[in-house]
């Protein structure tokens, strides 16, 4: 009896088929729910500590970047395919690393003994001839030897001066204050004389975002020395608002005509958010407005991850350039990274967490004995993220 019953064929397949369908449905649902919850929680596990600016995470980043700065980098470290861009990246590595060390020293005064010497090292490196060679090659003149001249040199003077000014701001006894005075004076004179309130980065090339860096260097120098640059900085801020913001999207045009100041490039997230970071030293309200414009229209969110679209509605661009990094499905690599600083500076913790999750997913942070680095970073990426992740609103008592 037992044998005959156990050998008999199943009565019908419909219950097992129904069970199979239910199992498939539950499997898909479980996969979807797990994927919507676990990856972003895992990737964003350090977001709260980064947002708070905990000393150990900032120090970890500082130690990682210090390994690059101690190497005394050269342009051969970069592989952009252009000697000009390699030179820009070398200068930016020192500039951003210096800002990161300065911000960390300011946030955690107990770390000054470690971070201030690193900031000084960055100041010394931006003044070396190899940091200025890309600018000298583009202008066919040395930017330091022609400070009394008319040419803009925003690409070198603005970027190097901002780290010199920052150093002087947090320590008035900074060793390079005489150079800082000369660079600041040249920038002030050239921006004041310009009918567009903008100076050229290279001959025939004017970028509002680069001018925000120059303006930040002037504002920080003013805070450090007590000199009043507010007439120029107010005029600059007003000019940005009225002439260089796209009225529809509220974003900054990437490039403008050197002669007329008319937009020659689309408004872009990478330039807007880069400018928002530096404008926090000049005009915090304008910085907040730029971030609000990005927050309104450019944020793409999915399953707890966020990224920034490079172009606003109505504009189309290519697959990326040296400013934006690769643009994948319209999402900007640099813009997403720059947005982290604005989210922290302007108190948007929810967006900060989502952006940091994306950063962890894509840039692959790694912890080594030397410190924390990003696998996708290299010297420029590590320095950039160090500056952005430690970005602070300007302290009210100093501004």
């Amino acid at each position: 009896m037992t044998i005959s019953r156990s050998q008999s064929p199943p009565k019908t397949s419909s219950p097992s088929r129904r069970r199979k369908i239910i199992r498939s449905f539950v499997s898909v649902a479980l996969f979807a729910v797990t994927t919507a919850i676990v990856p972003h929680l895992w990737c964003g596990r350090d977001a709260a500590r980064l947002y708070r600016g905990d000393a150990d995470v900032q120090e970890g980043l500082a130690r990682g970047v210090a390994t690059w700065i101690d190497q005394d980098l050269g342009t051969d470290q970069y592989h952009t395919g252009s000697s000009q861009f390699n030179g820009e990246w070398l200068l930016m590595t020192y500039q951003l690393a210096g800002l990161g060390f300065g911000q960390t020293a300011l946030t955690h005064p107990e770390s000054r003994a470690r971070n201030l010497p690193m900031l000084r090292k960055c100041c010394a490196r931006v003044l070396k001839p190899n940091a200025a060679s890309f600018d000298a090659a583009a202008w066919s003149e040395d930017p330091v030897k022609t400070l009394s001249g008319k040419n803009g040199h925003a690409g070198y003077l603005g970027y190097s001066n901002v780290v010199l000014s920052y150093d002087r701001w947090i320590d008035p006894a900074a060793p390079d204050r005489a150079v800082n005075d000369r660079f600041t004076a040249a920038l002030v004179r050239r921006m004041t004389a310009s009918p567009t309130h903008l100076i050229e980065t290279y001959p025939g090339e004017t970028y509002p975002a680069d001018n925000c860096v120059a303006a930040a260097s002037i504002a920080l120098a003013g805070r450090a020395t007590g000199r009043d640059y507010s007439p120029l900085l107010k005029a600059f801020g007003a000019s940005l608002r009225t002439r260089y913001l796209d009225p529809k999207s509220g974003m900054l045009y990437q490039s403008v005509s050197s002669e007329t100041g008319k937009p020659s490039g689309a408004p872009r997230a990478s330039g807007t958010l880069f400018a928002a970071y530096f404008l926090s030293f000049v005009d915090p309200k304008l910085s907040a407005d730029l971030f609000a414009a990005i927050r309104r229209n450019q944020v793409g969110e999915l399953a707890g991850f966020a990224a920034i679209r490079e172009y606003p509605a109505g504009y189309q661009g290519d697959m990326g350039d040296v400013d934006s990094g690769p643009v994948i499905f319209g999402l900007s690599t640099s813009g997403t990274a720059f947005a982290i600083a604005s989210a922290r500076m302007h108190g948007d913790e929810a967006l900060f967490r989502e952006l940091e999750s994306t950063l962890t997913l894509v840039a692959a942070p790694t912890s080594t004995r030397e410190g924390n680095k990003f696998l996708l970073g290299g010297p420029i990426g590590d320095a950039l993220l160090f500056a952005l992740l430690t970005a602070q609103p300007a302290p009210k008592e100093v501004s």
């Binding site: 009896m1 019953r5 479980l30 996969f31 797990t34 676990v38 290299g378």
Partner: protein
């Protein structure tokens, strides 16, 4: 039924071994890329890095996306399938046993 109960632990073991190998390869590749710093070439759209470097870096990124985005969901689904089929097998076993007992009584 005997064949099934013998195969299942072997399949589960194979899956665990595959998962461990995947994670070891992923971590080793990440560590190697961290030391060489070659991942950063992907940030240079106009650059001309060696094909092998780009291939390894892209392989790492794809592996990373798989491990971080898809693997948790796949593990949960696999675990649920495993547990639910065990529950189903137990239920079947209980049913056939009760039939046997019932038939023996008859």
């Amino acid at each position: 039924m005997r064949t099934l109960t013998k195969r299942r632990p072997a399949t589960a073991r194979a899956e665990i071994i595959q998962g461990v190998i995947l994670c070891v390869v992923y971590l080793a590749l990440g560590r190697w890329l961290a030391v060489t710093g070659w991942m950063s070439v992907l940030l240079s759209p106009s650059g001309n890095p060696p094909f092998g470097v780009v291939a390894v870096a892209l392989a790492y990124i794809l592996l990373r996306l798989f491990v971080l985005l898809a693997l948790p969901g796949l593990v949960v689904v696999r675990l649920w399938n495993h547990l639910s089929s065990r529950g189903g097998a137990k239920a079947n076993l209980t049913e056939s046993q009760s039939v046997q007992i019932h038939d023996a009584d008859c």
